[in-house]
């Protein structure tokens, strides 16, 4: 399904004719091929075609917005009419609204488009999933492997009345593997995701084996007592922590005083070992793109440098209110959804390695600690408080990773986490949109179930 690149320009022209001061139109089409497998067996293949157009118009500091999933000139006209009507209702203006971004050259970003994914047929996806399933049969105690795979190829186009005009194509493939292992009455599970711009870079078999190993390693889990311990963050638990810090740097949260980092810009609020970078220009990065969801060029932004909070993530709304340049982090529902509100979202996150080695090396440095690999919890960004259930975690005794832990909750505050980093590893883990070495924090409260 091809995107008619004329539609956004047409929508902008129509809006201006209807008397608004500024107008923007954003359109996208995507093709998705998905396959899912349950209990070692492939269940279903799906093909979907989606597309839509979003319009924003500004009139006397009032914003009107609309969207439609129909990409015809008639439905575009209807969407424009709706947005203009909304901007014309007589309510208080938004004093922070300064307009839409002006034109600038999109950043050249390599490796975000795989023509092979655009042509991927269900047969190819089924073969990929079958091979991943077969590779995961590494132990008779594994009772089930479930896989969800999808590939997307997409075109995005944007135009605004100030001269912004851009279009790009991108693609990605993602696999999520859940493994279940049983030993007698005991049951454990493992979960691993993988996400790449090109299919050949996505090693489905490796991810399936990793999930299988995590499930097997979870057998024999023990309860621990409530105690204070050093914690090593790795895997999805590390992702939850670092990405939450970047979400807390959403400039709108910071400006309105809603983030625990609100008063810490320019302040040395973290260990000198911590440097976090958001880079939407990383070649082949899963969140790389030439421009953001309102057409501002992509940039590399240092969020935390050697412990000093350096920058927020801005879209044009937050940047122009503060009188600074947008960092190119406008996002619709976190990305490029035509039906999403334009907000702010991080892109590819990178934590600079500092020491040597991975989680095992940090374990030997810590002596006695908890290695937390998976949680699905998220912190309270207003207070920074983070209570995270240990979905997958291990006790570290005498410098070695020992038995798996069950029924435990780790509690720390993100401000304390940033200050109390004892060590940052040297080997990068790739976890979805984050590249980071594992991190050791000196102390967190572990709520355990053992009496």
């Amino acid at each position: 399904m091809e995107l008619n690149a004329e539609l956004p320009r047409l929508a902008v022209e129509q809006a201006l004719k209807m008397g608004v001061e500024q107008a923007e139109a954003f359109a996208t089409v995507a093709r998705r091929v998905s396959v899912n497998a349950e209990k070692w067996d492939i269940k279903q293949a799906t093909v979907s075609f989606t597309g839509g157009l979003a319009v924003r118009v500004i009139k006397q500091r009032r914003l009107g917005a609309s969207y439609t999933s129909k990409l015809t000139p008639q439905s575009t006209y209807e969407a424009v009419k709706k947005a203009v009507k909304q901007a014309s209702i007589s309510f208080l203006e938004d004093v922070r609204l300064q307009g839409l971004p002006g034109p600038s050259k999109p950043t050249e970003v390599e490796g975000i488009w795989d023509p092979g994914l655009a042509d991927l047929e269900p047969e190819d996806a089924v073969r990929f999933v079958s091979e991943s399933l077969e590779a995961s049969r590494i132990d008779p105690r594994l009772s089930s492997i479930n896989i969800s795979f999808s590939s997307v190829s997409r075109t995005v186009a944007i135009a605004n009345s100030l001269g912004v005009e851009g279009e790009f194509k991108d693609s990605w493939a993602r696999i999520d593997v859940e493994a279940v292992a049983k030993d007698g009455v005991e049951q454990a599970s493992g979960y691993c995701p993988g996400w790449r711009r090109r299919l050949k870079e996505l090693k489905g078999w490796m991810i399936a084996q990793e999930a299988a190993r995590e499930a097997l390693m979870g057998l024999g889990a023990r309860k621990v007592k409530t105690q204070d311990l050093p914690v090593i963050l790795s895997g999805l638990a590390l992702h939850a922590t670092i990405s939450s810090i970047s979400y807390a740097l959403d400039a709108e949260l910071v400006q309105r005083g809603r983030s625990f980092i609100s008063n810490l810009l320019g302040v040395k609020a973290a260990s000198p070992l911590l440097t976090i970078i958001d880079d939407a220009t990383t070649p082949g990065g899963v969140r790389s793109r030439p421009f953001d969801a309102e057409g501002s060029p992509s940039k590399k932004v240092v969020l935390v440098e050697s412990g000093v909070i350096k920058s927020c993530l801005h879209n044009y709304y937050t940047a122009s209110y503060e009188g600074v340049e947008s960092t190119g982090h406008a996002a619709r529902n976190g990305g490029f959804s035509y039906n999403g509100r334009v907000g702010v979202a991080p892109t590819n996150l990178f934590v600079k390695p500092s020491g040597k080695g991975g989680a095992e090396d940090l374990a030997s440095e810590a002596g006695r600690a908890l290695l937390m690999k998976t949680t699905f919890d998220k912190p309270n960004l207003a207070t920074g408080d983070f209570s995270a259930v240990v979905v997958s975690g291990f006790m570290v005794e005498e410098g070695s990773v020992t038995y798996p832990v069950k029924q435990a909750v780790v509690h720390f505050n993100l401000s304390d986490f940033m200050r109390n980093i004892d060590a940052v590893g040297g080997s990068l883990e790739e976890i979805l949109d984050l590249q980071s070495p594992p991190i050791l924090v000196s102390r967190a409260r572990i709520a355990g179930s053992a009496i």
Partner: protein, 465 residues
């Protein structure tokens, strides 16, 4: 061409192309969202989404195709895509899928509405959001920031199946939320309240809706002085809101039969066994009018019905689609739901609740000498394969001699699906419902969680003090 005719043609094509079963769905959603932030109109957005999909079963394998590009040519192309997707699985599937046979049916249903959403001017919706936002901000000078969101949607969905069933359902949803931030002496706290349901603009006139702004701000103010909770195991009295999240996350998901079949539920093989104390009865019922998970037919055109999942502590039934019902030799329960036109139906909860017991809420509290009184729900999730759940409460009080004493913030509760209902030793008689959005496999659908006050022993509390 009317919708029924379009969908029936798709099914004809699918059957001619070799499908043994096929169903087709069309969905159209028109919605409005108003966001007022700190006394300013941040956004007004209206949208229209429509599309359709076809699902086919060819020699025991499923193919599915969907599109937002609605035209007769596109629909034929879609059938071909679905058939070829199913054929791509040929020879690779060990367990051939089947569907539970259904009798023919033709029905149209519409939600009961007093004030249709499209009869209300946009200005009135914006005015309501402004009013609630102002009430948050003017409650106390310590409340410095607030967001109010009004959103509504009118949805028409149609399902046609090769069993000769056609259903069309028109629903309208309304959702209001208030988020407030309070500040004092370098501390920052937030309060959050939602209200919503299925119906018309009359839903905004309830006491809960009218008090939303004040309630969110009051909560933020109260929490300013609250320390984090202690860590360890506690007896907890849960209010209806958090008890509703509790039953949904801690137990409900593990009863979804697709998870049972994929070996991802700790409840596999437990039908007919004791999973809870005699106090506990758990029900899923999409037919409860006005609730956010309401529907008369699911996305496979099966009748929505009341399913008793747990009766006096015994696991009685899982929740089923047509496929899981025949696989597990059960009857369909009408729980196959899809988020939108591009999603395939999977097994979901609807309005899920713990049935009321005999205790009075004040008796439950009064007879709990030490523990926590936990109120309100921020979010929750479960790892059904491990049977491990977690949820976050809005606020909690230490219980001392049966009296709520010190207020605590950011309380996180966790436990195990197989232990938790056994540990429920008191269910009160004050059943209440709360709307929510439930996510599974990337699909988000409206649900309601409900419960009276309940008491649970030995809940793991994660806290920092």
């Amino acid at each position: 061409m009317i919708l029924e005719e379009v969908l029936s043609k798709l099914i004809d094509h699918a059957l001619k192309a070799g499908a043994s079963y096929a169903d087709a769905r069309a969905r159209r959603v028109e919605g409005t969202r108003v966001e007022v932030v700190d006394g300013g109109l941040r956004e007004v957005r209206c949208g229209l989404e429509e599309g359709f999909n076809v699902r086919v079963l060819v020699e025991g394998t499923w193919g599915f195709a969907s599109s937002s590009f609605v035209s007769p040519e596109e629909s034929l192309r879609l059938v071909k895509k679905a058939i070829s997707a199913a054929k791509a699985l040929a020879g690779r599937v060990k367990q051939r899928a089947e569907v539970y046979p259904q009798s023919t049916l033709r029905s149209k249903a519409r939600v009961k509405v007093k004030v249709p959403l499209n009869s209300v001017d946009l200005e009135e919706k914006v005015e309501l959001a402004f009013k609630l936002n102002k009430e948050s901000l003017s409650l106390d000078e310590k409340v410095k920031s607030a967001t109010t969101v009004y959103s509504d949607a009118v949805e028409t969905r149609a399902v046609y199946t090769s069993h000769g069933r056609y259903v069309e359902v028109e629903t309208s949803y309304l959702y209001l939320s208030s988020l407030a931030y309070a500040f004092e002496a370098g501390l920052r706290q937030r309060g959050f309240k939602v209200h919503g349901g299925v119906g018309g603009f009359e839903l905004t006139r309830s006491t809960e809706a009218l008090e939303l702004g004040v309630e969110a701000a009051s909560m933020a103010l109260r929490l300013l002085k609250a320390p984090p909770p202690p860590s360890g195991r506690f007896t907890c009295v849960l209010d209806p809101e958090i008890a509703g999240t509790f039953i949904h996350e801690a137990f409900g998901h593990a009863c979804e039969a697709d998870l049972v079949l994929s070996n991802s539920s700790i409840l596999e093989g437990k039908l007919g066994t004791r999973v809870g104390s005699e106090e506990v009865t758990v029900v899923d019922d999409p037919m409860l009018e006005g609730l956010y998970g309401w529907y008369p037919f699911d996305d496979e055109a099966s009748e929505g019905r009341r399913t008793v999942i747990v009766e006096e502590g015994i696991l009685k039934s899982f929740l089923h689609s047509l496929e899981t019902a025949i696989s597990l030799e059960a009857k369909p329960t009408g729980n196959a739901r899809a988020q939108g036109y591009s999603s395939r139906p999977i097994v979901r909860m609807t309005n899920t609740f713990i049935a009321p017991g005999t205790w009075k809420p004040e008796e439950l509290l009064g007879e709990t000498k030490t523990g926590l009184y936990v109120k309100g729900s921020n979010y929750g999730y479960v790892d059904t394969a491990k049977g491990l759940f977690s949820f976050k409460c809005k606020e909690a009080y230490l219980l001392e001699n049966g009296e709520p004493s010190k207020l605590l913030r950011d309380v996180a509760l966790s436990g195990l699906t197989l232990e938790v209902l056994i540990n429920v030793d008191g269910v009160a008689n004050d059943l209440k419902f709360n709307p929510g959005i439930c996510g599974k496999e990337g699909q988000y659908v409206p649900v309601t969680d409900g419960s009276p006050h309940i008491r649970v022993k030995g809940v793991l509390v994660g806290g920092g003090s």
